[in-house]
């Protein structure tokens, strides 16, 4: 449960209990006080009431319920009734001065009797009326307190929100961070209570950053270190081939040479990838011509296509200017065409198209090879993942490199199986300029 909810429930509960107790207490206190007040009223009336047999008929000025009236009775010393305010009801005369509660004609009455040597005055009031008056007064006293309870909830909610907003600000700042962002979370304005927490996170980020940095450097260093012995090996194999006079060794040496070349290629790819990882933003942007870059890539791959008797061709050459890094686009387009030529069986065809449509430039590479099994599609950009059969030469890094290069040039790469027949369709798309 959230802190906000917990805090709110506890405080709201506490306020409610305090409010209800306060309301109940005032209710009972006011009710009791009302009884005392009404009793003193009875006595007051008894002391000052006159002996006149009846009150002059007063105009009924104020609308009122006769039930609410006091019942006033006066007797002389002999017990003769001098006065009775409501002859219809008679409360029996008491012999002693004081308060009493009696039952008369099916109703409960509160009675005050004042006995003097000359006369007896008795003032009575219906208990029900008294209770109504007392309850009404008590409710009036308790109501404001009861009404304040929900109001305090609103205020409480507002206060807690204000406190939580500061926490939320940090939470939002953390949740909007790029997963690769190694900058510490700013500590200004962070409440003192959670400052240690934020500082711990910052330390964690720092350690993580160091770890990632070390990992990156390891790949890059390892590749660097591998490159020299591989170059040396290739030179020595070359020396061996120069010195060799035995035709039987020639094939073996050629195989060794190919193996070393492949390793060198892999090392080069690792280095490139490590470099893309290290600086995700490319150095400089320039106006580049994607058609020219595509043609240069095709010229580079043409020998391999020729060797495999693959019909490599360009079917569309729009004017395609964009902003970017020429070497990066060479890597991207080169990888796409190279993949297509490598994964198309002997005698196949690879069609390249440079298309300018509206605001974007697309370089499309379509082959008529086997395509990619749908279950492998989601993984094709993973490093070292190879969708092709193992006998096809490749490292599984090509598309990962192309993707990394595309990202730093705000270009997108898509790979899909062709709809119009067997084969794969890859595209790189970038805003035209």
């Amino acid at each position: 449960m959230s802190l906000r909810r917990t805090a709110f429930l506890w405080f709201a509960g506490l306020m409610a209990v305090v409010g209800i107790l306060a309301a109940a207490t005032s209710y009972w206190l006011v009710r009791g006080e009302a009884a005392v007040f009404l009793d003193s009223q009875l006595r007051q009336v008894a002391l000052y009431v006159g002996d006149a047999p009846d009150s002059p008929a007063l105009p009924n000025v104020v609308e009122h319920d006769p039930e609410d009236d006091f019942l006033i009775q006066v007797w002389d010393a002999t017990g003769h009734t001098l006065r009775n305010s409501d002859p219809a009801i008679g409360v029996e005369r008491r012999g002693r001065t004081g308060f009493m509660t009696v039952s008369e004609s099916g109703e409960d009455w509160r009675v005050f009797t004042l006995v003097t040597p000359l006369r007896t005055v008795q003032v009575s009031q219906r208990i029900q009326v008294r209770q109504e008056l007392a309850t009404e007064a008590a409710l009036r006293a308790a109501l404001p307190i009861a009404l304040l309870i929900p109001l305090t909830w609103l205020v409480l909610s507002w206060i807690i929100d204000r406190i939580m907003v500061r926490l939320n600000r940090i939470a939002v700042a953390v949740s909007h961070r790029d997963p690769l962002d190694a900058q510490p979370i700013p500590v200004e304005g962070v409440p003192a209570e959670i400052l240690p927490f934020v500082q711990s996170i910052n330390q964690l980020i720092q350690r993580l950053r160091a770890l990632i940095e070390r990992q990156r450097r390891f790949v890059s260093d390892a590749a660097h270190e591998l490159r020299s012995p591989l170059s040396a090996l290739q030179i020595q194999i070359g020396n061996l081939r120069t010195a060799n006079r035995d035709p039987r060794l020639e094939d073996l040496l050629a195989d060794m040479d190919a193996g070393v070349r492949r390793s060198s290629g892999l090392v080069g790819q690792l280095l490139r990838l490590a470099r893309y990882d290290a600086d995700a933003v490319k150095p400089t942007d320039g106006q580049i011509d994607l058609t020219a870059i595509t043609l240069a890539c095709m010229a580079q791959i043409a020998p391999l296509a020729e060797q495999k008797s693959i019909d490599l061709g360009i079917v569309r050459k729009d004017t395609a200017q964009c902003l970017g890094h020429a070497a990066d686009f060479g890597v991207i387009i080169g990888n796409l065409i190279d993949n297509a030529v490598r994964h198309t069986p002997v005698g196949g065809a690879v069609d390249v198209a440079v298309i300018r449509d509206g605001e974007a430039v697309t370089v499309e590479v379509a082959d008529n090879g086997g395509g990619i099994a749908p279950e492998n599609m989601p993984r094709i950009f993973e490093r070292f993942f190879r969708a092709a059969p193992q006998e096809t030469e490749g490292s599984g890094l090509g598309l990962a490199i192309a993707k990394a290069a595309a990202e730093r040039n705000r270009a997108t790469i898509s790979v899909e199986n062709r709809m119009d027949g067997p084969g794969l369709l890859t595209r790189v798309r970038v805003a035209a300029r």
Partner: protein, 221 residues
């Protein structure tokens, strides 16, 4: 012929020294930047093979210093591609040529010979690319051990392609090279010429890219 080899990696250095000695060159091999700079200043060398990543003093500093001092010894830079990409192209710094590691030995030796020849002022009548050599004087073309004479138009095609290896030349670009002003162009002349050249040597001497044209690959090993 004396070559100065400045290379810190013992395995690469040893292999290169062996290769150059096998090619009948004498080799002085130094392993760090300062020694390399001194050797370059005092020695008489036909060529310097210079690695860029050196301890003590970088290859680029050696090159810059030597050129500043008026030393005109030809320099062939050998470097890793990313080092080349990181810095300005080696050629801009006064190097005569550069080669990207890892390289093929035959390629290296061909470049070494070409730089020396060019530098010694010999009129180099031969255009080279990888294992293709075209003699502009005799119109003889050598490819993988086979040498044959080319017709004038075949020669014009090969020359155009070899002048810009790795670049695809379109049919009309090639036609311009083959035909003079006012000459009538036969519709499939270029295709026929390339067919002849491929038949004389091997079909992979020239690559075709459908819809674009023809090229000879750059730095073919």
């Amino acid at each position: 012929m004396r070559i100065l080899l400045i290379e810190d990696d013992p395995m690469i250095g040893k292999g290169l020294r062996q290769a150059l000695q096998d090619a009948a060159m004498s080799v002085d091999w130094v392993r760090d930047g300062h020694a390399g700079s001194e050797a370059l200043a005092v020695g008489e060398y036909a060529l310097v093979l210079l690695d860029l990543g050196l301890p003590g003093m970088s290859g680029i500093d050696i090159l810059r210093g030597s050129r500043k001092a008026g030393n005109k010894t030809p320099v062939l830079v050998i470097t890793a591609r990313d080092e080349l990409e990181d810095r300005v192209s080696g050629l801009d710094l006064g190097a005569d040529d550069y080669l990207v590691k890892p390289f093929d030995l035959r390629e290296l030796l061909a470049r070494v010979r070409a730089v020396i020849r060019r530098h010694s002022g010999q009129a180099d009548s031969i255009i080279r690319n990888g294992d293709i050599e075209l003699d502009t004087a005799s119109h003889a073309l050598s490819y993988r051990g086979s040498t044959q004479l080319l017709s004038a138009r075949e020669f014009a095609v090969m020359r155009a392609l070899l002048e810009r290896p790795g670049t695809i030349l379109s049919r009309s670009q090639l036609e311009e090279k083959i035909y003079g002003w006012g000459e009538e162009v036969e519709s499939n002349a270029v295709d026929v010429l390339i067919h002849y050249i491929r038949r004389k040597f091997d079909k992979d001497i020239i690559n075709n890219v459908r819809g674009a044209g023809w090229s000879v690959p750059k730095d073919r090993a």
